[in-house]
């Protein structure tokens, strides 16, 4: 045990850079997923059949084919097929972004549909342009509804980042795995790793709770300080139409 922790201190630089890779993959993947969920989500409520169809196909494709396969496809299959080599981190960001973007699109669609119909009618009555109505009336209300589901997806994404280890990106898991094989302290190593991920997940949840509070404030809804500490609920992401 003490062996492990002295080795842990020795390996601190590698662990720090591993942590950095994990965070980078999480944040960049999440940003890409966010962008994609809005694009696909807005496309899926468009009046044009073509845009709805394209969004449906893309969403079902990326939700249906398993993240693991997508990541491996990008890493192993794409270079053979197209001649382009992607760095492991970029593969991760792309796969995470596409996969979770597809799940997020359903969240965006569900949240926009849940804004009361009368709000939409009011914007029409006030002669607002479509862009203005989205930006000023519909999205601020839908955004509050989206945040809890997005929090769930973000944690799911964080939980998928150890996959980077398999495509030889030097992420946190890779660093700890090296430590483990050197010290032979299997149980301690994996427990330490799990605790690291738990701390990251909890920190991200707190950040998202802060975001939710500020989004609610803008709608004039006050929330108490206690709500910041609440944990995620496991069901919200589901009700928005996606498995998990």
């Amino acid at each position: 045990m003490s062996d492990f922790f002295s080795a842990f201190m020795d390996d601190l630089p590698q662990l720090r850079s591993g942590l950095w890779v994990t965070l980078e993959a999480t944040v960049l993947g999440a940003l890409m997923a966010l962008l994609l969920s809005f694009v696909l989500g807005l496309m899926s409520i468009s009046r044009l059949l073509l845009s709805r169809g394209v969004s449906r196909v893309v969403v079902e494709f990326f939700r249906g084919t398993s993240l693991y396969v997508q990541l491996f496809w990008l890493y192993y299959a794409m270079p053979t097929l197209t001649g382009y080599d992607l760095s492991p981190l970029l593969c991760g960001v792309l796969a995470f972004g596409l996969n979770y973007g597809a799940y997020g699109a359903e969240v965006v669609r569900g949240a926009i549909n849940s804004v009361p119909r009368a709000q939409y009618e009011a914007t029409v009555a006030l002669n607002m342009t479509p862009l203005h109505r989205m930006r000023k009336v519909i999205l601020p209300q839908a955004w509050v509804q989206m945040i809890p589901s997005f929090t769930n997806l973000l944690i799911q994404l964080l939980k998928c980042t150890p996959l980077l280890w398999l495509i030889s990106a030097a992420d946190l898991m890779t660093a700890v795995e090296k430590l483990r094989s050197r010290t032979g302290e299997t149980l301690t190593a994996y427990l330490t790793l799990l605790v690291c991920y738990f701390v990251m997940a909890y920190a991200l949840t707190l950040l998202m709770n802060l975001l939710e509070r500020s989004a609610k404030r803008r709608l004039g809804l006050e929330t108490g300080g206690r709500s910041l500490l609440k944990s995620r609920s496991a069901v919200t992401a589901q009700t928005a139409g996606g498995a998990r």
Binding site: R63, G64, L81, K159, T186, V235, A243
Partner: protein
């Protein structure tokens, strides 16, 4: 390195992948079973009258739910290295998903009208009988579609088992890829099999959900 898509390799890899697919299905079915039963146990334990029970249950659940399945799998396989990896995988998958399904059950149990509890108390039923005869039959029926959704998402996460050397579909795909240097064909095929299997199932679940009025 070959450019383009080799159709011959598809015919060669398909039987191997379908062999692996059987294990994928087996792991999903058994894993779902573990998650369905254990989730119910956690949900009922979470409603125990004593905080000595509910607080530890919540903490452990939150921990398992917030940490990566892959690390849990690799860790468990290393610690229980004498046990067959497939069994370790099924149990870990089951436990991981039980932390989600327990929330589903919890919502189902919360959905049973309060009057039902009061009626049981008025009839002075034992708590065991209250659960068995009144609460659970009403709660469980409503949660079936949601459990189905978790089964689908577990199905899409079974490739993780390849890491602990369970020879499921993606393991076979990677194996074929390494042997013949034809990753493209093997992984494209694996992805398509996932799509073909999971899309109709999720359509079915959605229909079921609508019929039960969710």
């Amino acid at each position: 390195m070959n450019q383009g898509f080799d159709w011959g390799a598809v015919g060669e890899a398909l039987p191997l992948l379908l062999d692996g697919f059987k294990i994928t299905l087996l792991a999903t079915v058994l894993g779902t079973l573990v998650a369905a039963v254990l989730g119910l146990v956690i949900a009922v334990a979470g409603r125990a009258p004593s905080r000595l029970v509910t607080v530890p249950v919540r903490v452990v659940m939150e921990f398992i739910r917030s940490t990566p399945l892959l690390v849990q799998l690799v860790g468990a396989a290393a610690v229980f290295s004498t046990v067959e990896p497939l069994y370790v995988g099924i149990v870990v998958l089951g436990i991981h998903y039980a932390t989600y399904t327990s929330e589903v059950y919890r919502a189902g149990i919360d959905g049973v009208p309060k009057g039902q509890w009061e009626a049981c108390r008025a009839l002075s039923m034992s708590s065991r009988r209250t659960w068995q005869a009144v609460i659970l039959p009403q709660a469980v029926r409503n949660v079936l579609p949601a459990l189905g959704n978790y089964a689908i998402s577990m199905f899409k996460e079974t490739p993780f088992l390849a890491v602990i050397t369970v020879q499921e579909m993606v393991f076979q795909a990677r194996d074929y890829g390494t042997k013949h240097f034809e990753y493209t064909e093997a992984f494209t095929l694996a992805g398509l099999i996932f799509l073909v299997a999971s899309y109709p199932t999720s359509l079915l679940m959605r229909k079921l959900e609508k019929r039960l009025g969710h």
